[in-house]
């Protein structure tokens, strides 16, 4: 019974993808949509295969990956550090947590022109922009994680004579670790999207730039090739990460 239900839902999901592909095919082949908006699938595929063989494809990917990595590392280090410092006292947690949370509710994209002003249109402005965006989830989720550790564990550790650092090292950190990992994941995907966004808005290189350039030069096949590439990459990454998380949860 269960298998059958699974089969039905899977079929619907496959059917959805098939319909999307069918619509794409139908629209382009009947000429309902001009290839300027939506080029036929086979042309996009051929463009992609040609693109992969060029050096510019890999250099764009390399720039973007390197930018993401830098931004993410900065975001994680800064976020963990701030969360650690803020949760040292209840008072400072109460002062800073709402401040950080409400800053994150403002579209930080507004700061993008400032980063362009400071760092120019090279990768540095994208690193700064994505690190800023990526910092908040790490800090907020880690603060929440450290604060939600069961107080009984802390009292138990204290009763056994643990120092403040011992308590952090052996109780707070391990107890909050799964939550902290969530923060790192969220931060990664936000950094990822922010770098691509920054590159799309204003950049000299990278995948985002390649997409906006293709649009500007009216090369829709190339633009779609890039878009499909990014979508597949993002969805696969998501899939892998949630598979890892599900496995971790089983243990």
């Amino acid at each position: 019974m269960n298998d059958q239900a699974n089969f039905t839902t899977r079929s619907i999901q496959v059917a959805f993808l098939a319909i999307m592909a069918g619509v794409w095919y139908g629209l382009t082949k009947t000429g309902a949509v001009t290839p300027l908006f939506l080029p036929p699938m086979d042309i996009v595929y051929a463009t992609f295969m040609r693109l992969v063989q060029t050096g510019q494809f890999w250099s764009a990917v390399r720039v973007t990956l390197f930018t993401i990595a830098q931004a993410w590392i900065i975001a994680v280090v800064a976020g963990l550090l701030v969360a650690y410092l803020v949760t040292r006292s209840r008072h400072w947690t109460a002062v800073m947590e709402p401040l950080i949370a409400s800053t994150f509710a403002i579209p930080l994209t507004l700061l993008f022109p400032v980063f362009i002003l400071f760092f120019g249109i090279g990768p540095a402005s994208k690193v700064a922009y994505a690190a800023t965006y990526g910092f908040f989830p790490v800090a907020l989720i880690t603060i929440a994680g450290l604060n939600s550790v069961d107080e009984r564990y802390l009292r138990a550790a204290k009763s056994m004579g643990a120092s403040s650092f011992d308590t952090f090292r052996h109780v707070l950190f391990p107890a909050a670790f799964p939550v902290i990992l969530t923060g790192l994941r969220v931060s990664f995907f936000i950094s990822f999207a922010s770098v691509l966004g920054g590159e799309t808005l204003s950049s000299a290189a990278g995948v985002g730039k390649a997409i906006s350039l293709a649009a500007e030069l009216m090369e829709p096949a190339r633009m779609y090739a890039w878009i499909v590439f990014v979508i597949i990459t993002a969805v696969s990454l998501n899939f892998i990460v949630s598979a890892i998380e599900n496995r971790r949860r089983e243990y």
Binding site: T87, L99, I106, P113, A193, T200
Partner: protein
């Protein structure tokens, strides 16, 4: 919540605010932190920082009243962005509710269509921005559409989540008292969904703002994007910061409106 208190004695708070309640202390410390940041920024920008990059807050305030708010073109651009956000948000709520309710209504819908929603949510939508411009042009339609495309996902996801896990006992109890299907929807499903719905509406507002502003910045031939680009390229930080501040205040006010509505409708949760 009380974790940190167990570790740090109350005496560690500065003694000059010792007479206040805990809550007042928190609020005043927060104000001091913000004031300290402004003062530090002022000193840095005035005496140390490169004036082509940094502008002291006092100069930003001056630019706000001298350049930004007096220029009808800039005022128009701000007003237009504001309208775009509102229209996009209302559309995102309507579409998000309709899609969320239809997907979340049955187990079948949840199991079949929810993964598709999650899949679409995982796409970094910003790469579609050039496509939106190609499709909708460079006018408000494009920015509204991009805002909607960002705003609907958290609303759908939270509406679906809110329809799950309705306590079966509430349903059974209501039916035993003679509740109709409409009664169940009105008095059980809907109130149960409200907290989750508001979580979605809050995130939806943040993302709608993000979508609209991304599109505004991308289209640099007019609107907000034109002015930020102009100021950044001419190394004129004061009006740039002033313009950003106006938009940030707009975002804060809109977020706060959603929050007030949320507090009004979820009082029962304590």
């Amino acid at each position: 919540m009380t974790v940190a208190a167990a570790r740090v004695p109350a005496a560690s708070t500065p003694s000059f605010i010792g007479g206040m309640s805990r809550r007042a202390k928190v609020i005043w410390t927060r104000r001091l932190v913000l004031l300290g940041l402004v003062v530090a920024f002022e000193i840095y920008a005035r005496f140390i920082g490169n004036p082509r990059l940094f502008s002291p807050p006092s100069a930003i305030v001056y630019a706000l009243f001298d350049e930004i708010l007096v220029d009808p073109r800039i005022r128009g651009a701000i007003y237009q962005a504001f309208t775009e956000v509102l229209v996009a948000y209302v559309m995102a709520i309507i579409i998000g509710l309709v899609v969320g309710l239809s997907v979340g209504w049955s187990n079948f819908g949840r199991r079949s269509f929810y993964p598709i929603v999650i899949l679409l949510y995982a796409i970094p939508q910003v790469i579609l921005l050039p496509l939106f411009v190609l499709t909708f042009g460079i006018g408000p339609a494009c920015k509204i559409a991009f805002g909607v495309s960002h705003g609907i996902f958290p609303i759908i996801v939270n509406v679906v989540a809110g329809m799950r896990n309705v306590n079966a006992l509430y349903l059974r109890s209501a039916s035993s008292m003679g509740a109709s299907n409409f009664d169940l929807a009105r008095h059980v499903y809907f109130p149960h969904m409200v907290p989750s719905l508001f979580a979605g509406l809050r995130l939806g507002m943040t993302l709608t703002l993000l979508g609209v502003i991304l599109a505004e910045l991308y289209v640099s031939t007019g609107g907000i994007g034109y002015w930020t680009k102009l100021y950044a390229e001419t190394f004129d930080p004061a009006p740039l910061f002033a313009l950003i501040a106006v938009l940030a205040v707009m975002a804060i006010l809109l977020n706060e409106l959603v929050r007030i509505a949320e507090r009004r409708f979820t009082r029962w949760r304590n």
